[in-house]
Subunit: 507 residues, 2 copies
Amino acid sequence: MSTKRRGGRSRPMVSEISRSQRYRQLKHPFDPQTIFSSDEIVSIHNTALKVIQTLGIKTLLPEARDIFKSAGARVKDEMVFIGEDIVASALKTAPSSIILSAANPENVLTYKNGALIFSPGAGCPNIFDRERGRRPGDLNAYIETIKLHQSFDVIHKLGPSAEPQDIATHLRHYSTMQAQMEFSDKPMFVYARGTKQTQDSFKMIRLGLNLSEEEWNGGVWGTTVINSNSPRMLDRPMAQGIIDFARANQMTIITPFCLAGAMAPITVSGALTLQHAEALVGITLAQLVKSGAPVSYGGFASNVDMKSGSPAFGTPEHIKMQIGSGQLARHIKLPWRSAAGSASNIADSQGTTENMSGIWGSLMANASLTIHAAGWLEGGLTFGYEKYITDIEALQTVAELCTKTEATEAEIGFDALREVEPGGHFFAAKHTMDRYQTAFYSPLVSDLSNNGTWLKAGAKTAYERATDIWKNTLENYEQPETGKEVSDRLANFIEKRSSEGGAPIIE
Amino acid sequence: MSTKRRGGRSRPMVSEISRSQRYRQLKHPFDPQTIFSSDEIVSIHNTALKVIQTLGIKTLLPEARDIFKSAGARVKDEMVFIGEDIVASALKTAPSSIILSAANPENVLTYKNGALIFSPGAGCPNIFDRERGRRPGDLNAYIETIKLHQSFDVIHKLGPSAEPQDIATHLRHYSTMQAQMEFSDKPMFVYARGTKQTQDSFKMIRLGLNLSEEEWNGGVWGTTVINSNSPRMLDRPMAQGIIDFARANQMTIITPFCLAGAMAPITVSGALTLQHAEALVGITLAQLVKSGAPVSYGGFASNVDMKSGSPAFGTPEHIKMQIGSGQLARHIKLPWRSAAGSASNIADSQGTTENMSGIWGSLMANASLTIHAAGWLEGGLTFGYEKYITDIEALQTVAELCTKTEATEAEIGFDALREVEPGGHFFAAKHTMDRYQTAFYSPLVSDLSNNGTWLKAGAKTAYERATDIWKNTLENYEQPETGKEVSDRLANFIEKRSSEGGAPIIE
């Protein structure tokens, strides 16, 4: 849990403070793994180029078709056929390292291969917790989830966990942008729901954080996710988002959502070929709009469940596609996002198995960013507060692996080994006493008490214990300094824009 | 679930049959990872040698002390000080590859570095399931758990999951050995609880499986786990076990149980130094008894929970110790065992987080054998039937990653990509139709149905669904052919030995 807040209360245990803070700016602890040979990766890459060039991408936004056409692509009706030279040029200018700015300098991220960034479950129309039940997302839940994300250092970047459906869509971005800046100081998420909303959002960042023109222009303050409509279609808002963000030097994460057997071929290599083709098209569009625009490769491929037809997460196929996506991203030398997530209806062992499979898949794949790393239920239809807490435990466990394990002479402790008699114990050894406060990760949810103690205390499951934890976290939440003037700074702008009719979502 | 049984019913889905069978004889899908540099590993190894040579190991069994002394070790009272040349010689003769025999040739294992072998939660005095509650282990539970292990191909080797406390200790091995052979055809576990019990057990294997002298002598039919009494003590039954098993050419797995901060130094490198020292002593004893005796390096180090003082599992420190153990095992070029496990009191998300951390730790560490891979609750005090089922899901997910992912032209499916219109779907594509029955892993416990359907069906958690699964598994269990004559073959021997008073456990 984040503890170093300006003016905040200090906590009693030094160990927890230092451990929490070291969950920031993580680097991958493990080497990237492979499922395909280099030849196979080249073959998938080349097949994707062939898809783009010969089968084409249906591009619904006329402006996007014009941009492709100007670059030399063939356009026929809504279909765009892009030559591989155009794609190759785009890959040369797409940046391999992107600084994600944040109100708090300690939360600034470098988005590049090797970075290990977690962002929370996002895009959920519903929310759930054990006390209030399952209900449509609202602004209160949006704000509560931002407060949770601010409170855990292992969540590095914000995401729109709960959709605030109590706010009309043409005004919603005023509330969500304000809430992110008011209640957090981490890198922000901006929905790409039409040029007017995007421009409003960017303006609000400048106003809310009191950024100079230079500070705004020099940094990536907002990122968004662009989901192509697989197979082979780029719809209007998504194409518009790529254009708007590239022009403003803000980051798009191009993420085809390729469900093998449904909107993508049923094989891992087939689904990845389609994902790769669509991602390359989005990256190319961004670079054609502005050379060097911050843009990320994205992979969020999994399979459908053959019994229900539903999207499945954390399956072996999901993990394989993560690893294959990592190979493809490294092939084109770009940082990239992956995703964990869960289809479970509740924070049970299914939900944990699924999400942890995705987390470890991201580790094997060396994903730069793992979205939906905590809190997703029902394949993203619901954000679960308890699920979020139990998933945080898995993330913190992984974050601990990023620290160097020492094996100096002092650390090995031959003297302690000499000091303790055969069959004795190390509880009172100096080597132990010097280190016991900081030696081990302190669990967030796990209860290590024995069966009798556990039964007497009410036999609570981790799911039940998680309720107290998110409630305590919200109770102990402290607003970041940078958030305190945000609502004053934004009041006039929001009032004016609201009175002008806000900004409609484009379909 | 295992389906290829002689004379067994065939199952409807071809896909399930082939998938289950390919969970046998797994090889690690990922490269071994590191937490220490090569220099640090050398430093830990050398410090361990220094511990053995200068601090010594308390060895309670006189015969073991004599064996060490004959080899040139210095012995003073119960303390044994072994020179590094003696250890080095032992490491030269310890085998790097061991065939683990089984009644069914399809279940024979090659125990070596690179192999990925899972065995179930073991050594539990209590058992738990949702219908019958928590209770002391008995023979019925022992048999039921053997039937479960026989039914899942991803469980490669037997382990004594439930301790049958309704059978007197001097007769218990007659029941457990018979049950393993009668109800399973996988590699067996033999407790090392004194020479007489060990000899009885070995004799029963020869009789029960009707092995010729040649077959018995040529194979490793029984393995046991030797836990040293950390720190630096080898007790009587354990030393006796190493001697008895080595003489009979059966396998011991030398496993110090080093809990950092309690019976081992509080640091990862310190606990591993102690583990390494004790394991080297056990391996050396085995080799001194019989050069080339099958013996395995073992690591089961974790930390204590600082709140409760209880052993913790699946912690970051546990994972780090797994990875470090793998480095040490590879340094001495021996196959080795690790362990997963859970301290949770119930099959909840805590239990799953802990066990999956251990499973993935084993993958990162490239452990040859992962013990306690499914079913452990309460740090091994209880074997949970539901926990077993939910853990099997995680193991099967991992097993799926061991298969080659194809990226041939046919598999990529450019024709399917051409066939499906932009924005369309692949449900009816020939590429899909040709593969849909076998394309994806079919979950064991996971329920992918949507929230409405799930609620209508009773809103069961994975934990609750697991009850039906273990019950169905036991109902559909089929005895292996090799088990059918076992009780007849053993009847006279057991009757005779029982009437002679059985064989007491040595303390």
